[in-house]
């Protein structure tokens, strides 16, 4: 009951942000919505299945470029169609990539996903005539639920209709993911995370489950990427650079992968902290590096673990055991 009240309060707070009149913070929230959706997928793979991907920027890129191609080249402006195409495109890419990656675990899985991410990044840079190379592609303003909103000023669009649209997509994505992790399928994923050999002996086809989790996480990242497109207005290969995948891992650890909402909190804190630190000093990476080191050593349970007050020790144990 308390949890529900807390969630309701949180939802109201999110809806109230644009009313504060600080457009800048509302636009930052758009990044949060997009990354939050992506992280729901990333954490299905990491927190629930035990596979840490270093290449999910690949799928953010697929989503963002899908938005650019559809709006800029094909004249499809319906946001719903863009989200759908982004998810389907990600599934088509993730099916073979995932089939290969899930044959490996731990660092080998991570490295393989990293390799595919970088492959895609190179593809975007090299195939200039298709992707616009370094300069990337423009994302035109989409219509939302069939409403043409091209006449209103950009900031008003982003902090108004698009803000609430993105928030709604996040809410739906969160609900769907909650159903997935609370399903029999979700239990099987957790059993695989805990002990794949035992899971297999109980009749769980480990690779197939990992593959399905990979597909879902890819579709989530692509939906996040597609939402990011109209916010930034211009997509370029830097969106798919491996440091972006690293940021996803950072956000997950920051919030805490052991809790369903942990990565969402991580995304929120990351985005606003990055903004705050960047406005004070130019070396934000230095500061974030230090924060990451402190997190891993002292607060492996992330912010959620810290708030739950369960102390760091069990978390440390879990992380060390995970590393073994």
């Amino acid at each position: 009951m308390r949890a529900r009240a807390g969630l309701a309060a949180l939802a109201l707070a999110v809806l109230a942000v644009p009313l504060l009149g600080r457009d800048y913070y509302s636009i930052l929230m758009l990044s949060f919505f997009a990354y939050a959706i992506t992280l729901l997928g990333v954490n299905l793979l990491f927190g629930y299945t035990g596979l840490l991907s270093f290449g999910h920027a690949l799928f953010i890129g697929i989503g963002a470029y899908a938005a650019a191609v559809l709006t800029g080249k094909l004249g499809v402006l319906h946001m719903e169609a863009i989200l759908l195409v982004a998810a389907v495109a990600a599934l088509l890419v993730a099916a073979p990539v995932g089939a290969l990656c899930v044959r490996y675990v731990k660092i080998y899985f991570g490295m393989l996903t990293l390799a595919f991410g970088m492959l895609f990044n190179s593809f975007l840079i090299k195939f200039y005539h298709l992707t616009g190379g370094d300069e990337g592609m423009r994302v035109l303003r989409p219509s939302l639920l069939g409403f043409d909103l091209s006449q209103i000023p950009k900031v008003q669009f982003l902090t108004g209709p698009y803000y609430y649209y993105s928030a709604a997509v996040l809410a739906i994505a969160t609900f769907v993911m909650w159903r997935i992790v609370a399903s029999p399928f979700g239990l099987c994923l957790r059993s695989i995370r805990e002990n794949p050999v035992k899971a297999e002996s109980l009749g769980i086809s480990v690779k197939r489950y990992r593959w399905v989790a990979f597909l879902i996480s890819a579709a989530y990242a692509a939906v996040g990427g597609a939402l990011l497109g109209p916010t930034v207005g211009q997509v370029d290969p830097s969106l798919t650079y491996w440091t972006q995948s690293g940021n996803l891992v950072f956000m997950t650890l920051l919030g805490g992968f052991a809790h369903f909402l942990g990565p969402l909190l991580g995304a929120f804190v990351f985005i606003y902290l990055q903004d705050a630190v960047m406005s004070i000093v130019p070396y934000w990476r230095l500061i974030f590096g230090a924060i990451l080191a402190i997190l891993v050593i002292f607060v492996p349970g992330g912010l959620v673990g810290l708030m739950a007050g369960r102390g760091a020790r069990p978390g440390i144990k879990a992380v060390r055991e995970g590393a073994r």
Binding site: V176, R179, I180, A182, S183, P184, F185, G186, L187, C188, R190, S191, E194, N195, V197, K198, A199, E200, S201, L202, G203, I204, S205, Y209, V212, A318, E321
Partner: protein
């Protein structure tokens, strides 16, 4: 005959772990596999349960060649196993561990959006197994926090929750106190009757357990079947006494009227070359 190994061989490099083992398990039987360390007991279990593919030979389960078909398909055909070292899901609760097996057996793992919490059938069947294994009171305990004996029970219970026709247990009582050993065996036997398991095969070092529960004993030595037969015949077999039972056999010998000679090496032998 429910399970049969025909001339199974398994070699690692130039060493033979199994050198032509044949074995048959009938419905209704409790078969124990004994032998010194390195005799090939665990390798045999791993081959029988599809974790390892034999280098040669065949494994037949319910008139079907199952050689190398893998554990997932075997579990669906009705074979389950437990492991020598406790193998559970440490961060899941007792009930969740059992639910994994029930979900797998009922084929519900593919239900992506169904609520597990509202699945009464899965919950009831998991609880039923928890009760059989005296774990019902601890059903909400996280598995890693259980005492060693309960972890061992949970490992075995999760295999039972698959409702297999045959179950292979790799040292079901290892690492457990003597008092707990008999408790585990009693629970195991009564649970298998309740669930309707047709046959049990176990690897076991504790000769009290082996002679107390088995219908038939298979003694392995250096990857070969040294002897097999009813407990009485195995006790009387000089080769087994010399090479497998060894010094540890004294307690058994006291209860056994047949004369015994010699004191074998008993504890472990070097692997043989192929």
């Amino acid at each position: 005959m429910i399970l049969q190994a025909r001339d199974v061989r398994k070699s690692y490099g130039e060493f033979c772990a199994l050198d032509g083992v044949s074995l048959a398990v009938n419905a209704g039987e409790f078969v124990s596999i004994i032998g010194p360390n390195g005799a090939g007991k665990t390798t045999l279990i791993n081959v029988l349960t599809g974790i390892l593919e034999p280098s040669a030979g065949r494994v037949v389960f319910k008139d079907r060649d199952i050689t190398g078909i893998g554990t997932v398909r075997l579990s669906r055909l009705g074979m389950a196993r437990s492991f020598q070292l406790v193998t559970i899901f440490p961060e899941l609760t007792v009930l969740e561990v059992l639910q994994v097996a029930v979900v797998s057996r009922l084929g519900r793992g593919t239900r992506l959006f169904a609520s597990l919490a509202r699945d009464r059938q899965v919950a009831a069947q998991a609880l039923e197994v928890a009760e059989l294994f005296l774990l019902a009171e601890k059903r909400h305990t996280v598995a890693r926090q259980l005492p060693q004996g309960d972890k061992k029970l949970l490992d075995v219970a999760s295999a039972f929750a698959l409702h297999p026709e045959i179950i292979l247990l790799d040292e079901p009582t290892s690492g457990v106190s003597t008092r707990d050993k008999n408790k585990i065996m009693e629970i195991l036997v009564s649970a298998s009757k309740r669930i309707g398991i047709k046959a049990i095969v176990q690897v076991e070092h504790d000769m009290d357990i082996v002679f107390g529960y088995s219908d038939r004993i298979v003694a392995l030595h250096q990857g070969r079947v040294l002897a097999e037969g009813a407990p009485g015949a195995i006790r009387a077999n000089e080769d087994v006494v010399n090479m497998v039972l060894g010094r540890r056999d004294r307690a058994v010998a006291k209860r056994n009227p047949s004369p015994l000679r010699g004191e074998g090496e008993g504890e472990g032998t070097a692997p043989t070359k192929c």
